[in-house]
Amino acid sequence: MDKTTEELLGIVSDWSGKFNGAYNIRSNGQCAGRQSSENILIENKEGAPGLVIKIKPGTKGETVYIPACVTKGGIDDLVYNDFYVGEGADVIIVAGCGVHTDDGHDVRHNGIHRFILDKGSKVLYKEKHIGTGAGGGAKRIDPVTEIIQGEDSYLEMDTIQIGGVDRTFRKTSGTLGKGAKLVIKERILTDKEQRAETDFAVELNGEGSAADIVSRSVARGNSYQEYHSKISGNAKCKGHSECDAILADNGKVNAAPELFAGDLDAELIHEAAIGKIAGEQIIKLRTLGLTEEEAEKKIIDGFLRG
């Protein structure tokens, strides 16, 4: 692995020279290290680049890491990773992606992740994205996440784009069975001429299913963000989506939430708020001795972390 890959791995996953347990590291389209564990089996996917990750029923307390880095311009990396989470398993999945180019050529990672959760299983899925490197090459990350949740399963997706990504199109879809619960926390920071588009589509098909999507974003510089969400309540279910965006400089945000209620007992809520940082927040921090710039930074860092 080159030094840039190691640095990116440190930022996007918990990499500190090694991983404990099951992992697969993808670097510039190649496998740079893999290990299965007794309960988590990682294999190559047939007929397409990527992995099949099988988590045995009842597996508890394990973490599987599957970070991917692209560190050279001119690479357009496409990968399909399928996760099969067995009944009653309770695991953490750490993905994470770093793209780097400083040779003037574009770089892209396009990760298509499918999660199939069996009855009663529980997953915390963490995903962190960053772009680094100077030069004119565009840094792109286009993740596709497809989630299929069986009865009473739970998935929490914690996804954050910390900066440096010029273009991103993020597509997330979920289909929930009886009693399943999906929680998504998304954080996106864009600056300069960057563009981010995020699209959620969740089908609440099972009785008692629930989805909670919270997207927080900060658009500064000349950046532009688009948010779409569609929650369809096709049974007695609860759906909540929230898009909360802070604008700075010339940042622009377009939020288009959509709710579809196909059942009398579907309870769906959407909240959206777009605006600059509340003036009173800056004033309060200034009364503690911070300058206006310091106050803004603290507020934005907290907002994206929280």
Partner: protein
């Protein structure tokens, strides 16, 4: 010592909110500003902290004219202000705010001590986000703790610290004020309608209809009121139009 001279402040509409307000807030003493709702107390606090700028008059801190200084400069030179209405933040937690105020990392013991002074249990609150999910009384106590964490202050203004605070926490708060006072090296100005706070004051100023209608030692002001056979609970002074209360 904080010295306010002939301060006038009007809204953009021209409405005069504060009219020739003069007040000396000596070090090591507790000065309470009281008076009817809408009298101009919070406006005065905002002028002291630099949130608003007066059209006329001056504010001096230890002899230096700070009237032209902005909020940050005033805070850095030792002015602290606990808001009447605490500000909510999406994403900053109690620890963040206390550390920003203290300008350094705080250990658990220090945070515990600060929150204890306002009657909060640290374990429950240390990681709580200071957002709309906090109750009014919780937010108010965190606001006060934040100001207590700012240890470089020479002047502290508390705007109705008692508002929404339960009896038990209120006792801790009174102790905290007495301790601040006994440190002896800062000016304390508390805006309050509360008898128990008036009782621990050294000086009382009554602000009504934008003017200082009464100023004196606690004995003078409270004694005067007794003579007027007005209970302390009954508002002191005049309402916004300048008519006597009651």
């Amino acid at each position: 010592m904080l010295e306010i001279k002939d301060l006038c402040w009007s809204l953009e509409t021209g409405e005069e909110i504060l009219k020739d307000v003069s007040l000396k807030v000596p070090d090591g003493k507790l000065t309470v500003v009281t008076g009817p709702n809408g009298g101009g107390k919070t406006s005065l606090a905002k002028l002291i902290a630099g949130l608003e700028k007066p059209q006329k008059g001056s504010i001096c801190l230890d002899g230096e004219d700070i009237t032209g200084w902005d909020i940050t400069e005033r805070a850095q030179s030792g002015i602290a202000y606990a808001f009447q209405q605490p500000v909510r933040f999406k994403g900053l937690n109690v620890r963040d705010l206390l550390e920003l105020a203290a300008k350094r990392k705080l250990n658990e013991g220090e945070i515990c001590e600060l929150l204890g002074r306002v009657g909060l249990c640290a374990n429950e609150y240390i990681d709580r986000v200071v957002d709309a999910s906090l109750s009014g009384g919780e937010a108010k106590r965190i606001e006060i703790a934040t100001v207590l964490a700012k240890t470089d202050s020479k002047v502290i203004v508390f705007d109705e610290p008692e508002a929404g605070i339960d009896l038990w926490s209120f006792s801790s708060l009174i102790e905290a004020f007495e301790k601040l006072k006994s440190d002896g090296n800062r000016s304390l100005l508390i805006i309050s309608h509360q008898e128990r706070i008036l009782e621990i004051s050294d000086y009382i100023a009554v602000i009504a209809a934008g003017r200082v209608s009464k100023f004196g030692t606690r004995e003078e002001i409270l004694g005067g009121l007794m003579n007027e056979e007005k209970a302390v609970r009954c508002p002191l002074g005049k309402d916004k139009e300048g008519n006597p209360n009651g």
